[in-house]
């Protein structure tokens, strides 16, 4: 007869977690600069003719000054391609529907210019982890190149003039994306978010403005763009986010210390669903992958890296699934295909017993 008591005693050993990697909490960062061209009506008020004239002017300047950049008009992309760009965080949801919009992407995808979004120019620099200075350098370099040829709308008192006064001044929004699963599990996340908002920082979901949090992934960005210079904004953002990362690591350590069986059970349940179900909606998939990411990060899930999980989070998005299938799929077919993709990719993954 099986000695269940012995099995439980054996399983009740402490989880062997040697390290809580802070770098796994970080999911990347971005710096965005908003600019408008002097003497041209902003995109929202421009006629199609006026907007197209600005688009052509900006594209010509970029083509002239920045050789290693791919240029395209939004109208040249089909619906699925636009969705792919959005899911990769290269364009905003708003630009997806702007027929007079344009995009310039550097070959390494570290710099993207959105044209005729809310403002004439949204220059974005991207970097891994919390290397926000690198993201700033990417955006700043492009901005300086464009400044040589374009006359920006600017005043000494208000700085760069933007369609929404909340972006005035530097026109800079620096964002750091964090995976805050530990703080969610300990119930401390709400208090942390309230604290960040009191410090005049914006806390948004996975896809930025207007998006809900999915998979406990949050974008933290500066609210104020006027009155502080770019370096001061970046330094403050970094200082505060480092503290949030420290709190997240502490929360993860406490969960593992205090509730090892619950944590293990949680990982096993998440992985089992991902490995076996036949239909998987994207919201549920993101939640389960988020749990898996935590498990992988602390070394409790085998045969996977955090980067693999991040890649899966992107691949299961509707646009990427349709690209994989090379056809437009209705939602139920997408759920089926998503489940299959996850079943196959995670077939060999295991949650360690101790």
């Amino acid at each position: 007869m099986t000695d269940l008591g012995a099995i439980i005693r054996k399983r009740s050993k402490r989880l062997k977690v040697t390290r809580i990697p802070a770098e796994d909490v970080l999911m990347g960062c971005r710096v965005r600069l908003a600019r408008n061209v002097q003497s041209h009506v902003f995109p929202d008020r421009a006629t199609p003719g006026q907007a197209t004239a600005v688009l052509n002017k900006i594209m010509a300047v970029i083509a002239d000054t920045h050789q290693k950049t791919l240029l395209a008009a939004i109208k040249d992309f089909n619906e699925q391609e636009r969705l792919n760009l959005f899911e990769e965080h290269l364009i905003s949801k708003e630009l997806m529907t702007r027929e007079t919009g344009g995009i310039a992407i550097s070959i390494d995808k570290a710099m993207v210019v959105m044209v005729n979004e809310e403002d004439h120019l949204r220059i974005q620099g991207f970097a891994k982890g919390m290397d926000i200075e690198s993201a700033w350098r990417q955006a700043d370099a492009m901005d300086s190149l464009l400044d040589e040829k374009l006359s920006y709308a600017w005043t000494p008192r208000l700085g760069y003039l933007t369609a929404c006064p909340s972006n005035l001044g530097t026109g800079m929004r620096a964002s750091i994306m964090l995976h805050l699963m530990g703080l969610r599990m300990t119930g401390e996340l709400e208090a942390v978010i309230r604290g960040l908002e009191r410090m005049r920082l914006l806390v948004r979901g996975l896809y930025g403005e207007g998006s809900e949090s999915a998979g406990h992934i949050y974008q933290i960005s500066n609210m104020e763009t006027l009155g502080m210079n770019e370096q001061a904004i970046l330094a403050r953002m970094k200082r505060i986010c480092e503290e949030v990362v420290r709190q997240e690591c502490n929360a993860r350590a406490r969960i593992i210390q205090n509730s090892p069986r619950i944590v293990q059970d949680f990982f096993i349940r998440s992985l089992s669903l991902l490995q076996h179900v036949l239909m998987m909606p994207s919201e549920e998939a993101i939640e389960l992958l988020s749990a898996l990411r935590f498990g992988v990060s602390i070394g409790l899930v085998t045969d996977l890296t955090v980067q693999d999980v991040d890649e899966l989070m992107l691949k299961i998005q509707p646009g990427h699934l349709m690209r994989e299938c090379n056809e437009l799929l209705p939602p139920d077919k997408r759920d089926e295909f998503r489940a299959l993709l996850l079943n196959l990719r995670l077939a060999k993954a295991l949650v360690k017993a101790t």
Partner: protein
């Protein structure tokens, strides 16, 4: 105190009177005050019946006051509801309030009063510090104000120069040295 004109009656009120090209304040009795400043007669057409004339004489100041009050109130309301429109992009204040987005750089000048308060609320320090374009260029409107300021200074119109300087400053540009024109 005795009346400063007749020196017999007690002084009841103060009047102003020019004496030797100098305006003086005198404390006088009622009859001297009336003699110095007789009340303005209200011109009423003679053909109106006496009863009507009496009624008009009695109530006209009140009616005029009511009309004036109503006019002031009406013009005040008109001023309050007046919806400024940007001359470049055609955005009105109500459009802006609906969309929460401005239509062009000129809107910052058109709606300067509304935006000053909003910017103060949105940003702790409403003054830009940070990167600037290599060759900053003021808008056409500000350029025109600057040109007018130069002319006012050349023509030594201090009051105009001060007003133009204040407007340029409000629009976020430096109007240059503020020394008085001599």
């Amino acid at each position: 105190m005795k009346c400063e004109i007749c020196h017999t009656q007690n002084a009841q009120r103060a009047i102003r009177k020019r004496v030797n090209n100098e305006e003086q304040e005198l404390y006088v009795c009622d009859s001297c005050a009336q003699a110095q400043h007789p009340p303005q007669k209200i011109a009423v057409p003679e053909e109106l019946p006496q009863g009507v004339m009496d009624a008009i004489k009695e109530t006209l100041p009140e009616i005029m006051g009511m009309i004036l009050g109503a006019t002031v109130e009406f013009s005040g309301r008109l001023h309050a509801v007046k919806d400024p429109v940007c001359p470049i992009c055609g955005l009105s204040r109500s459009d802006y309030k609906k969309a929460a987005r401005l239509g062009c750089a000129q809107c910052y000048e058109t709606f300067v009063k509304d935006l000053d308060n909003l910017v103060d609320d949105m940003h702790c320090i409403p003054r830009h510090t940070g990167k600037a374009p290599k060759h900053p260029k003021p808008s056409q409107h500000v350029s025109l104000l600057m040109q007018n300021l130069r002319t006012a200074k050349q023509e030594q119109r201090q009051a105009d120069a001060d007003e133009l300087s204040a407007r340029i400053l409000q629009l976020g540009w430096d109007p240059g040295p503020t020394e008085e024109i001599v």
